[in-house]
């Protein structure tokens, strides 16, 4: 089974976020050369829990400095993948390597170079934010001031002495991020990091993640949020029932779905909505006429979203033989 092909060389538009670049613009990070130095490498990885195959022969690689997204339904195997890559679960078969070391066998060699932002706010509720981070400073052999720096980084310094049980969800998630930043990880795993966050906290987290990747860290992200994946990731992989069914840049995945001619959604001055296909002569003539008569209030190009791609893949994968499906894609 082969996932969807590769499209790592297309330029991306600039975002409107001021002087920061769109993370997807950094296409060089996923070049073939970069993938040779893959910080995260998975080969034919299988994980079974009894009769259930949580992962079924998954192979993928990430590049240094890449933001890599792993998408899938609940139970698709995303968290299992992260558990294996962070050394907290053993593969049934296949191989997982992080920073060139087999995990979990050589986990000790990379323990100080990887970190994780978990899906659940797994922090010590009865301890203060400072105590939470000082524990992990001690575990990593870092000075306590590193904890203070990390709190500063996520703007929690003012509440460093407060018990975590008094924190909001967003503050707890920021504390998780601070903990994950303590050891300046070369590979950072994020398991549904923005779930339950308000838009501002989610945006802040994405900015921090992008800055980390700009600094050369590899980000391995699982999410349900297609917009988040589309916005952040250079490449995404789709998992369905433990199998990898697609792996490519978000743009390439969307373009493959949009195999038909481009279309426009035109909102007219009387409030009606007209959909026009640009490869139909009568539609292009109609569009010209509407523009000429000044009746157009707004126009939007119609292109598939990553969510459309996922729904199509996941839907088929649930009904059909996925190996055929992956071959087709």
């Amino acid at each position: 089974m082969r996932p969807v092909g590769d499209d790592r060389s297309r330029p991306r538009p600039q975002t409107d976020s001021g002087n920061r670049t769109d993370p997807r613009d950094r296409d060089d990070v996923t070049s073939e050369a970069a993938l040779q130095k893959s910080p995260v490498e998975v080969e034919d990885l299988t994980k079974r829990y009894g009769d259930v195959r949580a992962l079924d022969g998954v192979s993928l690689r990430t590049a240094p400095g890449e933001i890599f997204g792993l998408l899938g339904h609940n139970g698709a195997g995303k968290s299992t993948m992260i558990r294996i890559l962070t050394g907290r679960a053993r593969p049934t078969s296949g191989r997982a390597r992080v920073l060139g070391h087999d995990v979990p066998r050589d986990l000790e060699a990379i323990r100080g170079q990887i970190n994780l932002v978990a899906e659940t706010p797994n922090v010590y509720q009865r301890a203060t934010a400072r105590e939470n981070l000082e524990l992990f400073c001690a575990l990593y052999g870092l000075p306590k001031k590193r904890g203070a720096e990390a709190l500063e980084q996520v703007r929690l310094s003012s509440v460093a002495g407060r018990k975590v049980k008094t924190f909001s969800t967003g503050m707890r998630q920021r504390l998780l991020l601070a903990r994950a930043l303590l050891n300046s990880p070369r590979v950072l795993f994020l398991d549904e990091p923005t779930r339950g966050l308000d838009p501002r906290s989610a945006r802040d987290l994405r900015q921090t993640v992008t800055a980390l990747a700009d600094g050369g860290s590899t980000i391995f992200l699982t999410t349900h949020d297609m917009n988040e994946a589309d916005e952040l990731c250079q490449r995404v992989a789709f998992l369905a029932e433990g199998r990898l069914v697609a792996l490519d840049t978000p743009r390439a995945l969307k373009l493959r779905l949009a195999s038909t001619a481009p279309a426009l959604d035109v909102l007219l001055d009387d409030g009606t909505d007209v959909r026009l296909k640009l490869d139909e002569p009568q539609d292009t003539a109609r569009l010209q006429q509407l523009i000429d008569t000044g009746r157009v209030r707004s126009m939007h190009s119609l292109e598939p979203t990553l969510a459309d791609v996922f729904i199509r893949l996941a839907g088929r994968s649930l009904e059909d033989d996925r190996s055929d499906e992956a071959g087709e894609w």
């Binding site: 558990r83 962070t86 050394g87 907290r88 679960a89 053993r90 000790e108 323990r111 990887i114 970190n115 994780l116 978990a118 659940t120 706010p121 797994n122 922090v123 010590y124 509720q125 009865r126 301890a127 105590e131 524990l135 992990f136 001690a138 575990l139 990593y140 052999g141 903990r179």
Partner: protein, 356 residues
């Protein structure tokens, strides 16, 4: 490879966090409170009767010394050196002392003299010490009394099996076993289960190994267990005949049970459920362990012989009593060691299977 720095960091966190957890505080303080209660409820049969005596002795304290020596180990005589007869009289009148001995200045010839000021209604203990004053005076004056007597204490014959017929000692001993069982089978499981249910165990696993995390929890159990035993002993002034055997037995018992405590936390990762339901199971088990003090026979004796807390109780009792009532030796240690080994082996298997 186990990293001591990481174990210490997690242990420090566990000890601090336990102090902030109301459930654990109750489990740690309850046995100590019970021990204090039983200590206050049951009198110590070994405690000596006491009498307070004021002494006015221009000769420099020889009378006080001789009076103490004459009383021997039958009465605890508490002396107060007093300036003059008037001060001594005030102390007696105020019932601050049971009686006062005002020694007259030594004469070249004739008998040694003293005035005894006795409080109204002086206790029989005080009366018995008053009877010893003439001999003490004579001895202090460097003369031989007309007749010599010596007070010796004869231990009471034990009416109960194993010589532990003192309800205070028995109840405090059982409270100590209860404390150790609470720590091993409730405190340690709660610490472990809470880490698993809140996901902090998973967070720790990124920075430390599973065995390091579990070792820290085990050490927390050992510390809580031994500190609690020490506190109970100090607060109740429990008389321990063989401290090394007693504390060794306490340590052996906690080590043997903590493996099962960790296992409970791993298999039952719900700290509130453990807190709610575990005590219903453990208190009867402690009662079963206590049954060993009452000379069980038949199947009950056989069952108790293979349980770690009953063997631990025997060793603790041997450490407490000068009579070593059980003469528990290698068999008891072997049973405790076997349970320890079994607990940790099963724990390792289950932890490996569950990838924690």
């Amino acid at each position: 490879m186990v990293n001591a720095r990481r174990i210490l960091a997690i242990l420090t966190k566990d000890l601090r966090d336990a102090g902030r957890d109301g459930r654990i505080l109750v489990l740690l303080l309850l046995p100590i409170g019970m021990a204090l209660f039983y200590n206050a409820t049951f009198t110590d049969p070994n405690e000596l009767p006491t009498t307070d005596v004021a002494i006015v002795d221009p000769g420099g304290g020889g009378v006080a010394r001789e009076l103490r020596a004459a009383a021997g180990k039958s009465v605890k005589v508490q002396m107060r050196q007093t300036r003059d007869a008037a001060s001594a009289r005030k102390l007696v009148a105020a019932n601050d002392v049971d009686f006062a001995v005002v020694v007259a200045p030594a004469a070249q010839r004739g008998p040694a003299r003293a005035e005894l000021l006795v409080a109204e209604g002086a206790s029989p203990t005080a009366q018995s010490v008053i009877a010893l004053v003439p001999d003490a005076l004579t001895h202090a004056a460097g003369r031989e009394p007309a007749a010599q007597t010596q007070v010796r204490v004869v231990p009471a014959a034990h009416s109960k099996p194993y010589g532990l017929d003192d309800p205070r000692t028995v109840t405090i001993l059982l409270v100590i076993v209860l404390h150790l069982v609470f720590v091993a089978m409730m405190v340690v499981p709660i610490l472990t289960a809470e880490e698993l249910e809140t996901g902090t165990f998973s967070a720790l696993r990124l920075a430390a190994t599973g065995p390091e995390i579990l070792a820290a929890k085990a050490l927390a159990g050992f510390i809580f267990g031994l500190a609690g035993v020490g506190l109970i002993v100090v607060l109740t002034k429990l008389d321990i005949h063989d401290p090394s055997l007693f504390f060794g037995a306490a340590f052996g018992l906690i080590v043997s049970l903590v493996g099962f405590g960790l296992l409970t936390g791993v298999l039952w990762p719900n700290s509130n459920s453990i807190n709610t339901y575990a005590s219903f199971l453990l208190v009867p088990l402690v009662a079963l362990a206590g049954a060993v003090l009452f000379a069980p026979s038949g199947i009950l004796a056989t069952i108790l012989d293979v349980l770690p807390f009953s063997q631990g109780t025997k060793l603790l009792a041997d450490g407490l009593s000068a009579h070593a009532p059980f003469h528990a030796g290698l068999v008891s240690w072997a049973v405790i060691a076997a349970w320890s080994l079994a607990g940790y082996v099963i724990l390792v298997r289950m932890a490996t299977r569950r990838e924690i």
